[in-house]
């Protein structure tokens, strides 16, 4: 009959009106500045640099200034200057480090290509979205200090990925130590013998050794 649909519709809206006062499933609005949204783990926005030790962030950067990300960055928003000296990295091996590492966030398009290409897991995607500033130029150009965040922070925002990365790094480190041990052993056993076949190591491990 004419009008029954109208009555049904009125009932639906009335239910929603009443429900919005007591039913959290109906009332889904977050009042944003006070209540922050719970971001999904896969949410990502703007890169940051990972350091291993929060007490000495710039000393324990994973970045070795290989400049792959700078070359790959589609909008060319990364600027890196290599250091002239070397510093021991997390494993104690002396490495070059970035003397200048700057990202222009007004140019960055959050494409994550820098993260994909980084062989050292040194740059990762952040979850920040409140990036508004009152200065168009200086405040949007983030330097090394502003970009660096500890590994523990990475664990808080992307726990799954961070655990994977940590496991991989630990495995790599173990493999490297194993290899060093084998090499040292072989050297000690038969100095004249030809190079023993190296233990199968991950490809990621070979790249940094062949790079310098």
């Amino acid at each position: 009959m004419l009008g029954s649909g109208i009555l049904q519709g009125l009932l639906v809206t009335a239910k929603n009106f009443v429900g919005s006062f007591h039913d959290p499933a109906r009332y889904t609005t977050l009042e944003y500045p006070e209540v922050k949204p719970a971001l999904p783990e896969a949410y990502r926005n703007f890169p940051f640099l990972v350091c291993d030790n929060a007490t000495d962030p710039l000393g324990t950067l994973r970045c070795v200034a290989c400049q792959i990300c700078e070359k790959e960055c589609p909008p060319q928003c990364i600027y890196i200057e290599k250091s002239r000296d070397k510093k021991p990295d997390a494993t104690g091996k002396p490495q070059i480090y970035p003397a200048v590492f700057a990202i222009d966030t007004s140019v960055c398009m959050s494409c994550q290509i820098c993260v994909e290409v980084c062989p050292f897991d040194a740059i990762k995607m952040d979850q920040v979205f409140e990036v508004a500033t009152t200065d168009r130029y200086a405040a949007l150009l983030l330097d090394r200090g502003q970009l660096t965040k500890p590994n523990t922070y990475f664990h808080t925002i992307h726990p799954t990925e961070a655990a994977e990365v940590d496991a991989r790094l630990a495995a790599d480190r173990q493999a490297a130590e194993e290899k060093a041990r084998v090499a040292a052993l072989a050297k000690a056993k038969a100095p004249a013998a030809p190079q023993a076949p190296a233990a199968p190591v991950a490809k990621r491990d070979q790249t940094p050794e062949s790079a310098p």
Binding site: M1, L2, G3, G5, A14, N16, F17, R26, Y27, E31
Partner: protein, 401 residues
Amino acid sequence: MIAAALTTDSFLERLPVLARDTVTGRLPESWRWMAGSLLEIIAILAGFGLLFAYLTLAERKILGRIQNRPGPNRTGWFGLLQPFADGVKALTKEDVVPAGADRVLHFLAPVVLVAVSLLGFAVLPFGRHLVAVELDTAVLYFFAAGTATELAVFMAGWASHNKYSLLAAMRALAQLISYELPLLLSVVPVVLVAGTLSTTKIVAAQGGWSLGFVPHWHVFTPWGAAGFVLFMVAALAESNRSPFDLPEAESELIAGHLTEYSGFKYALFFMAEYFGMCALSGMAVTLFLGGWGAPLAQLEWIPSYAWFTAKLLVLLLGFIWIRATLPRLRLDQLMKFAWKFLVPLTLLNLANAAGWSLTAGWTGPLQLVRWAVALALVAVPFVVLGRTLSAGSAPRTYRFA
């Protein structure tokens, strides 16, 4: 006349009249009438101005709740200062007049609209002793005052020199003319049964209770219930409210006749829409819902103006509820609905009411016959006409859904 009845009333009931008399009593005799009228005008302007302000807020909050969001809640406690913030914004905005516009008409349209939409309040009885102008022809006056709104809408649309505005003005004219007819025709039964055009007398005719608890409101008779629904539907269309808000259909006509208006002129249009809504709701309360009468004799100690306000607010909330629910009609559906459905029903309702008043003397089992016939006269045409109206359009099978 008022003084004699006043003495029997409670203090709360007399309060507004007493307040007026204390103010006017200090003035010389010859000024009292003028001062009293001025006070009434100020009271109506202030009261309905405030109602307008908070109605906008209530509408936004209720729509928000229905759409699972809180609505404005930042300005002041629960957003209670939002209307004033909106007012300040409207006042300080730039007033843009298009280069090709007819400047005089462009300016006059909102002014005329607000002025005209305020006229109707003069004859609404807000309480037992609260009516600004006691007119013998009050109902006729009310609808005569309302007609000029169409002219103002046309002026706005035409003067804007904008094709969307003009289209909207034409739509508004067609819609307002079409719905004026059912609006007036749904009022005629009340006038016929009450035997008067005076709003106060119509309210008085609805006083009293049968069986001790059923008030003699017109809405509790078959023709009255039908008339009330028809009146409210036509009132929705007359005040350009959803689902009949075609003149300002955002999705098709930007904002219709309001497209070229900004700042305070736009706010005036908005104000006029709400004033029109309030006036028509007040008229519906007066004609069908017993005006300021209390629903139960035991509740009469609550002052009459409180009852009027309560009924008015219920109807206004109904407007908002409907807006939140129904989608907009298409123009041809709108016209079809008015001419093929509302007008025949109102005419039949008129005959129904005439029969009702002729059979007023019937008692006993004849009363049952009276009710049955009246109910059938409401229900049968509704079902039959409703079937022809929705023939071919419902229930619909969707090819791509």
